[in-house]
Assembly symmetry: C2
Homo-oligomer: 429 residues x 2
């Protein structure tokens, strides 16, 4: 059988990783895929920049539009990232009759409807294993290995940068700026880390998982999210005493064909599988009605883990496997019956820290306000004075509604007896 001819958009770190894997492991990959995988063209922005020997100058072009139309190219790998020109080039490649492999979560999260529809209309496939979870084969697992299940929930750590920072804040007691600086030193955070630490990157990935697992079409930017930049080392100490750690969890909960999605710092019980995910790793916990609770764990980013996912996609296109899964399962097309539920409707227990000046009577005041919103207190932890001479009062609530909790906290924040805004986190089940 003829080799699968690959054209690649992008020659950065991931593109270089893909090129190296295709070059160094050609024989083994061909043995597993049933045919060779041949990289024949790579579109880069600057054709003169020195590159890895896996990207020889003869393969390079600066004309991405010509690459996606090139009749010799069977499949296009898109590893440039961002919205444009990625969106335009993916659409052009599909319309030119090429399958597309992409690692681009942003474009899938924001333009999923358009891209998946274009793929099905053209009778081609989109493969996107590398877009979520780095090297962890979670897309294959949801599309195939767990396909017999109705997925009931997903709870996931999807951003390696945030998880590295939270691990440092938990284990080394660093504050946020110090942990971020360390992440940047180690290459786990970019100079501008905004999208990673504000929850946007995780929200994009959650949108892709929600589309695949639940058939919900939701733009990544429409998912409620809260990042980690405001986290206070004080809370890391308190949650530890209570037997928890703080993780940036991306969650999806299905109830009666309505799906709630959010990304938020969340308390996870220590030693639970998700609590043990350290450093820049990712983990996705999937609960299915038949299988029960499963977890998929591994490196969430990096050149070679991402290349591992991209090349796996190329292999399953080469064998003809993924195109069949994609067409048969109408992968990426939304199911009209599934609708979005507001995250405000999510029910969980909560951790709440109120910073008070004077303890006498304050607990009754807090309790009264919470009770107005039908939130009951499960336990109260007293703490020593804070440097600014206010006193932290930490409460754990019984199950309550996120929307009610937000209203209650807004009301609490207006009380003169509370000297600083309250801090609260949901507690994962």
């Amino acid at each position: 059988m003829e080799a699968l001819r690959v054209g690649m958009l992008g020659g950065g770190v991931v593109g270089t990783g893909v090129a190296r894997l295709l070059r160094d492991d050609a024989g083994r990959l061909a043995g597993r895929a049933g045919r060779g995988l041949e990289l024949i063209r790579v579109a880069v922005r600057d054709g003169n920049k020195p590159r890895d020997p896996a990207l020889p100058r003869a393969l390079l072009t600066t004309d991405a539009d010509a690459l996606v139309q090139d009749p010799r190219v069977d499949v296009v790998v898109e590893v440039i990232g961002g919205i444009e020109p990625a969106r335009r080039l993916i659409l052009a490649a599909l319309r030119a009759g090429k399958d597309v492999v992409t690692a681009n979560k942003a474009v899938l999260a924001q333009h999923g409807d358009e891209l998946f529809a274009a793929a099905h209309a053209a009778g081609r496939c989109l493969a996107f294993e590398a877009s979520v979870g780095g090297g962890v084969p979670i897309i294959q697992a949801l599309a195939q290995g767990l396909a017999a299940n109705r997925v009931d929930s997903i709870q996931a750590i999807l951003n390696g940068t945030s998880n590295f920072i939270l691990t440092q804040m938990t284990e080394a007691g660093l504050d946020y700026p110090a942990a971020l600086a360390l992440a940047q030193q180690h290459g786990y955070a970019e100079a501008d880390p905004t999208l990673d630490v504000d929850g946007s990157d995780a929200a994009h990935k959650l949108a892709i998982l929600a589309r695949l697992a639940f058939g919900l079409s939701v733009p990544g930017n429409a998912i409620e999210r809260c990042g980690i930049t405001q986290l206070d080392p004080l809370d890391f100490r308190f949650v530890r005493e209570l037997g928890y750690v703080i993780k940036l969890l991306a969650e999806a909960w299905l109830l009666d064909d309505r799906l709630a999605l959010h990304v938020e710092p969340t308390l996870v019980r220590r030693y639970a599988p998700l609590a043990e995910v350290r450093g820049p790793n990712n983990a996705i916990q999937v609960t299915g009605h038949a299988v029960g609770q499963t977890l998929f764990y591994g490196p969430g980013a990096g050149a070679m883990p991402t290349a591992s996912a991209v090349v796996a996609d190329l292999m399953s296109i080469a064998s003809g496997s993924w195109p069949r899964v994609f067409a048969a399962g109408r992968i990426g097309l939304a199911e009209p019956r599934v609708r979005l539920r507001s995250a405000a409707e999510i029910t969980s227990r909560f951790y709440l820290r109120c910073q008070v000046q004077e303890r006498v009577g304050v607990l009754a005041e807090i309790d009264g306000i919470l009770a107005q919103h039908k939130i009951s207190i499960a336990s109260v932890v007293q703490h020593e004075e804070h440097p600014d001479s206010s006193v932290p009062v930490v409460l754990l609530t019984h199950g309550a509604n996120l929307g009610a909790m937000r209203h209650a906290v807004r009301q609490l924040d207006q009380r003169p007896s509370l000297v600083r805004p309250c801090v609260f986190f949901p507690i994962a089940e």
Copy 2:
């Protein structure tokens, strides 16, 4: 497209789970697989036994041989287990032009060469997701999601019964008979638990993983294994003090095209992902040259998790996906270059407990014997007297060869100053 017509061998707990999933979720499954999955015949031993409504009498037959030849059957599901008649029926089904889905680790481990060769010769496929890891889609992961990787090692908890027992011994301080009784009460251990607790079941599953991930053909019974029946609560206490837990690990290590395989109680550092696998769960840690370290976790047994895997296989046969992966990757055929390495050649650190009557001079004696085998001591932990008035001396070694360790222990066990046989475990990296 016409429905895929399924004939099933076996109507026990797993068969009933498969039938229920196919009946209760027919619409959703057809939507994902691109065609219906229709259960048309089920071969059982006793046609008169009362069964779940998902197995109506009209589907039942006692003639398994006729089922596998039935021209109306497209694919045969084998969930009877054991070697015969499973082996004979799988071969007959393949030769009759049917794809086969099996949950049977024993027959794949012992007769893999014959069964996989027969499938490829017939141009059919064998799907076996349910044979390892219960509902955890590890077969799909190795065959597809991680296919771009050269797998360097697998470390896995593959037997839920043993893991439940070890969890009880670790967390509740039970001895082996009490923990086994509890496992039997909870339905996690059979009346005769031999194959689960002596390491055989895990060895069978490891043989299947080794065939898939490394291309090694090795009968499950040829894999060195040691079970958990002789474990002493004393060691659970000591390893805990040292920051470890004891897990029954199935391990595969590739070095220079030679693969070492073994199943053995092993120390795993507390809080490491594998250490946190509790109760009847399974977990498979796969290290690939590109992806790095990944872990797949979930329920290792049970009717519905196993049915989840069987039905996923049916769906990927219905879509045409797995037949292509199977043929392209020559799945299950051994690669002649990969050979078995003796487990004796494995290098690791070790935990060693010697039970001595009198401490004076004994440490020098132990050290001397270990040194003869080029094993050096990293640390020694003193302990209080044992009820029989002997004293346990616990040593951790530096990296040493398993074969050398066995020789040294054999020599130690002959010394009069050691009042009982030594206990030793490898320490996982």
